[in-house]
């Protein structure tokens, strides 16, 4: 690194083409930067783990410009170009860093032969059970064997037999025969989670991945080993044998478990979600996510989903419930219990509704213990959104006693509750029965049961929208599966409530139009930003004065409260 913190570039030559790459880049990454789908096949190398160099799949040829040893002068060929001294043997790309003038061949006969050789060795004891293997379709071994394998085996001896279904932990099952001993999972557990339970025992062809007797791979990040296993050795016990991956549709989403906002992919088919995996974002979650975050989709099909718009328990249309809600809200003396689980767009509407019905807004905190990685103390995905939209202007409260007093004194007559069970937050059912309740939420609870008006809302997997995470990064999620039949996206119903409150006619809004309004109204969001313009990797917003609030998050993988604050107060460009 140079003094101003930027990395200097070096120029290397890859297959005859000069490319400029940051110093310290290894050859696998450098070749990736050339683009055009160029890749050095590899198994054990992972961009977020230490380099082990054990699979030997990434062999390339390397040469350096020749210099006269005595004088240090360049040795030239007949054309006056500096000669390249090629190493007699291939070298592994993952452990070779780009150096000025370095020449690399990724496609020479020697390189191809090396890959073929490595592939043949890897397949000697491999069970070749792709037809029943979960990894098929996303297996590096399968892909590279198609390219570098010989198509038939020269091996006539019996293959090794190893255990096919070892339980490594509550969520991970190991098929030992498929393991190519790349040690990615071992390094992940040790380096990222600091839970060094995995290792190889025995030697040679008997080598086996295992946990120390009496220990298990049970940390909340165990399923990441399944993601990074380049073959089908580590499988998710939950997803095992459920679905072929090529049938699944992938949708970009955001994890709602905490304010970290891990970027995710939802894998679904015909309206059913089969799994959630992390999506790489170096500013948020690298390539990881929690196990608990992956299980959140199970709530989609849970029995207690709210599936009907109702007034007094009777099924109604969205229009009917909206106008009934408007009538209640117009009556005055309104209080709102908002949610940091709502999207930015919804919060924008709730803010409008609160303003127009002069409601006092409370928001309850959901704090837990942070794990220092990807599960922060704030277990809501969008507290920053509630602040930036102006829905609230201070950090959330632990419970609702001021609101309870308001109800008791008769100052509050109508309560709009978003996705909270207020009966567990200091408002007894008795007290609740004194007011009219409008409940908006995904699942039923004691508050919803007693509500006069119920507006079912969609889960994050069923709608488009955005959240703002702990570092004030605006991130968007897309619809992966349809919601319960007949349920509209929340903002459409909210429009039908917000507009009449200002004596306007509700419009048939799209998210694009909501975003035009948001961008025009909110200071922290650039006027030119459109819904479609929000990049997949998110966009950092200016927190402004909000940065001074004593947020609950402590240091975790990509967030350091102290450093974050300093970076915000430093003059731009420094």
């Amino acid at each position: 690194m140079s003094q101003n913190g930027t990395v200097e570039n070096v120029t290397i030559n890859i297959d005859g083409q000069d490319v400029s790459v940051p110093q310290g880049t290894n050859i696998i990454e450098a070749v990736k930067m050339v683009g055009k789908g160029k890749e050095v096949p590899h198994y054990c190398y992972h961009p977020k783990l230490s380099v082990a160099g054990n699979c030997r799949m990434c062999l390339v040829e390397m040469g350096m410009p020749m210099k006269d040893r005595a004088t240090g002068e360049a040795i030239l060929d007949e054309d006056g170009n500096q000669k390249i001294g090629w190493m007699p043997k291939p070298t592994i790309g993952c452990a070779t860093n780009a150096a000025p003038g370095m020449h690399i061949k990724t496609n020479s006969p020697m390189v191809k032969e090396s890959r073929n050789g490595v592939t043949e060795f890897l397949l000697i004891n491999h069970p070749l059970d792709c037809p029943i293997c979960d990894q098929a379709g996303e297996c590096r071994l399968q892909e590279f064997s198609a390219e570098h394998g010989r198509g038939y085996s020269r091996f006539i001896e019996d293959k090794n037999v190893k255990p096919k279904r070892t339980r490594l932990g509550p969520r991970v099952t190991l098929d030992d025969e498929r393991c190519i001993l790349c040690s990615r999972c071992v390094r992940f557990s040790k380096e990222i989670v600091d839970d060094d339970v995995l290792g190889f025992v025995d030697r040679g062809t008997y080598s086996t991945l295992t946990c120390y007797p009496g220990k298990e791979l049970e940390n909340n990040y165990s399923l990441n080993t399944v993601d990074i296993c380049p073959v089908g050795a580590l499988t998710s016990t939950d997803f095992r044998f459920k679905m072929r991956v090529w049938f699944l549709k992938r949708t970009n989403s955001i994890c709602t478990e905490s304010s970290v906002g891990a970027n995710t992919e939802i894998w679904s088919r015909e309206g059913k979600i089969y799994r959630i995996t992390p999506r790489r974002n170096d500013a948020v979650n690298d390539t990881w996510m929690t196990d608990s975050g992956r299980a959140l989709y199970k709530a989609v099909e849970s029995e207690d989903r709210l599936t009907h718009y109702t007034i007094g328990g009777v099924h109604k249309t969205p229009e009917d419930v909206a106008s009934a809600a408007v009538d209640l809200l117009k009556g005055g003396d309104v209080a709102m219990v908002a949610s940091a689980h709502s999207s930015v767009e919804e919060q924008f509407y709730y803010k409008a509704i609160a303003e127009r019905s002069r409601a006092k807004v409370s928001l309850v905190s959901h704090y837990g213990e942070g794990d220092g990685l990807l599960q922060s103390e704030d277990r809501t995905p969008n507290l920053r959104g509630a602040l930036l939209t102006g829905l609230i202007d201070q950090l959330p409260e632990a419970e609702l006693s001021p609101l309870a007093r308001g109800i008791n004194s008769g100052a509050v007559k109508t309560l709009l509750v978003v996705n909270e069970d207020v009966t567990a937050l200091g408002i007894s059912p008795d007290l609740l029965s004194k007011v009219k309740v409008i409940y908006v939420g995904t699942h039923t609870n004691d508050t919803a049961k007693d509500a006069d008006i119920v507006i079912p809302s969609l889960m994050v997997f069923e709608k488009d929208g955005t959240f703002i995470n702990q570092t004030f990064r605006l991130q968007k999620f897309k619809t992966a599966v349809p919601g319960p039949s007949g349920i509209r996206p929340d903002f459409m119903v909210l429009e039908k409530i917000a507009a009449p409150l200002a004596d306007e006619k509700p419009a048939a809004v799209t998210l694009d139009e909501v975003w035009q309004r948001i961008a025009a109204k909110l200071e922290s969001i650039q006027d030119s930003l459109t819904w479609r313009g929000i990049p997949d990797e998110g966009i950092a917003l200016e927190p402004g004065a909000l940065v001074e609030l004593p947020f609950a998050e402590t240091k975790n993988l990509k967030y350091d409260p102290v450093a974050f604050k300093e970076a915000q107060s430093a003059p731009a460009g420094a």
Partner: protein, 165 residues
């Protein structure tokens, strides 16, 4: 862990000699095995703790090297060399004879716990092949007949177990 005071002393001297504690793992395995006869899980965990490692790190080493054992041996630990010079000089016949006389399969411990019989690689005395070790005692030029005599002495308990005391 009940280590002899000498062993503990050796370990305490040894560990600080390495720039990182981890490097002392293999020597510690040998010292503890010498002391205990084998490396139980308890021993593995003790070593790991001593070196501020996880038990799996030691387990990896212990299962990698055939010299490190995870089970106790019989009273006599008999190791027959089968590297080329000994093999040519008849090490296999020697071993078969021992198997028969001692009623134990090579690679196992006899049911009565008297002997553990194993093949190993070169004892570094190839000129006097076949070479057999009993404990730390070396016996050279062991043809099947001499193997029979050794076996008889083990059964009668006359033979030293070859263990340094």
């Amino acid at each position: 862990m009940n280590l002899k005071p000498e062993t503990t002393e050796k370990i305490d001297k040894l560990v600080p000699r390495y720039p990182t504690k981890r490097s002392a793992a293999l020597p510690l395995c040998h010292l503890v095995q010498e002391d205990q006869g084998y490396l139980s899980n308890e021993a593995i965990e003790w070593i790991a703790q001593r070196l501020e490692l996880e038990p799996i790190n030691i387990q990896e080493i212990v299962t990698f090297y055939p010299m490190l054992r995870t089970e106790p041996t019989g009273k006599y630990h008999v190791r027959v060399c089968r590297t080329l010079p000994c093999a040519l000089a008849g090490a296999y016949q020697t071993c078969h004879r021992l198997e028969k006389e001692l009623n134990v399969e090579v690679g196992h411990t006899s049911e009565d716990g008297l002997v553990t019989l194993e093949y190993v690689e070169c004892h570094a005395d190839c000129g006097r092949a076949p070479v057999v070790m009993v404990g730390e005692e070396e016996y050279t030029d062991i043809d099947p007949d001499k193997a029979g005599e050794l076996a008889a002495k083990m059964k009668s308990g006359e033979l030293s177990d070859g263990m340094p005391d």
